[in-house]
Symmetry: C2
Subunit: 334 residues, 2 copies
């Protein structure tokens, strides 16, 4: 069943069928109903590939995500996909992993498939060196690229970020002011937003004259291995490091800190404070429940889609948008 069959059956040209299909103005009511009837009768649907060829688009957006099984990124992908589809776009998902080479090849694949835009979900797509971000600017030379939780100042790249720096700065400041002097920073990511968070903590502690290198601890193990995280904290304790609060770059690290505190028989939050990040489901799974920073993921995603749709419609759009986070106070802080 092709547009030719329809045109023949309806006794009009294929151009007229196309016009009816696309709601073009110059079609008489009589012809319109006649064509629509024929289409309904024989259940015709336009061939998507031919349509793509003619229009040079199939209304598809490429979503790149290092690991969509990470709960936070999964939520982002979910929001983005739903909002894209309500805007008439479909999502081609690429889980790239964390290797640059794999990201580059996934990017090539999406460009080859002729998507209309690319969304990079998560801060791990931006690297230190400009040369390592070339794959992004190259793509942006062809189609708009949007970044969630990362920023890059390059033409045709649009960044949507939450103000992780300030969130962490305030969180650290608050914890110190509540009397926790030796606050350990526990992190597992050196990505764009990972750096911002660390910077926020550092600045706050420095201003209070409390910054110490041993209090900044990197966890290099698997992202889901709560055991190993707890173990690392225990080892630090055993080595004589004193800390009565943990600010974590992530709820799961925070959860490990809570586990650690319990095993040490500290009272939470009286003897030991913990602060997480992302305000994920884990925060309410924990006992006591985690105080965590919410970075308004859905708002970020909504805005990202708005920006991308604007760009695709040919409008001028802001290159970088910053949203502020919010500390959700629960049981692990005073």
């Amino acid at each position: 069943m092709t547009i030719y069959d329809v045109s023949e059956k309806a006794g009009v040209s294929i151009a007229t069928v196309s016009r009816v299909l696309n709601g073009s103005k110059n079609v008489s009511e009589k012809t319109r109903t006649k064509v629509l009837d024929t289409i309904r009768q024989c259940g015709y649907t336009p061939n998507a590939f031919a349509r793509g060829l003619g229009l040079n688009t199939m209304n598809t957006i490429g979503i790149m995500c290092a690991d969509s099984s990470d709960p936070y990124l999964a939520k982002a992908v979910y929001y983005i996909e739903r909002k894209l589809r309500t805007n008439g776009y479909d999502s081609l998902l690429c889980c790239t992993g964390y290797e640059l080479a794999d990201k580059i090849s996934a990017m090539h694949l999406l460009l080859t498939k002729k998507v209309d835009g690319i969304i990079l979900v998560g801060s791990n797509f931006i690297y230190e060196k400009d040369s390592e971000n070339k794959y992004i600017s190259d793509a942006a030379a062809r189609i708009p690229v949007t970044l969630l939780n990362a920023a890059l100042d390059v033409p045709n790249v649009y960044s949507i970020v939450s103000d992780d720096y300030t969130s962490m700065y305030q969180a650290a400041l608050e914890m110190v002011q509540k009397g926790v002097k030796d606050v350990l920073y526990f992190y597992s990511s050196t990505s764009y937003s990972g750096k911002k968070k660390l910077e926020g903590y550092r600045t706050a502690m420095e201003e209070q004259g409390l910054l110490s290198p041993e209090l900044v601890q990197y966890f290099s193990g698997s992202h889901e291995d709560v055991h190993a995280m707890t173990e690392q904290l225990k080892t630090l304790k055993r080595q004589g490091l004193s800390f009565h609060g943990v600010i974590a770059s992530d709820d799961i690290l925070a959860l490990a800190a809570v586990k650690f505190a319990k095993e040490m028989n500290y009272r939470i939050p009286e003897d030991f404070s913990v602060l997480g990040y992302n305000n994920s489901m884990l925060a309410t799974c924990c006992d006591p429940e985690l105080t965590s920073i919410d970075n308004k993921l859905e708002t970020l995603c909504q805005h990202l889609i708005t920006i991308l749709m604007g760009v695709l419609a040919g409008n001028e759009m802001p290159k970088k948008t910053v949203f502020s986070g919010e500390i959700i106070k629960r049981g692990t802080t005073r």
Copy 2:
């Protein structure tokens, strides 16, 4: 830059360029290198839409998932996407939500986009009535459909399931045999696999003469609302229901049960046993850690892809494959 430009520059016909591109046999080594050189020189890439039109495929698989932000489904989507791509297929993701109407329209969308196959991730796509599953058989009349964690006996539909019935049966039996007589079943899903799990519990309890309707409790609230889950258990207790063990259809429900037990000052597992399902990250986040049933998600996904690839290659493939689960013993059971 089209295939015509390349053919002109290389002094051959477009057919030859196409043959070189697709690794056809009948091309002399001399022309092959000449064409490849020209292609490299001018950085030509075939137009994906034209290619799709010619081949009637763009090597894309549609993935439908009610809620890809659910950790379990997110993991499944992640595995599936990665494995698809290593097999040369891309993933068009559709998060449908739980409404049948939305599933149907997402299905239409995927068919319109001419994907080569459809994967339904999660057991919530199968309904009681045959008429409600019509959207699946309709799709299967056109392209292969594969089901993860659900089964449907319809031509061109391939089901990959874990044996939830037996897993639950054994888990319930074991708990009873360890001396927990009043085991409450706590569930939140009435999907295909949800029913199988409940059936497993029911049969085991019935065989022991311990089945009681009040011990089967449905949670109707939000999937992430641990509070409400715990609250429901507390209410039951307050109403005089006696239970010293909970078998949950999901780790998060199990986690709520652990919270409940702690608030009641029960010792786990001495006074109170809990068993979860999915062996998710939550299981090791909990304190004590959850005993949980692992249904080998990655194996299921791997097999699903193998089946789908086989079908797409034109091979005869098994219509239904069943894998058995495994109880991962941790701290919440004796």
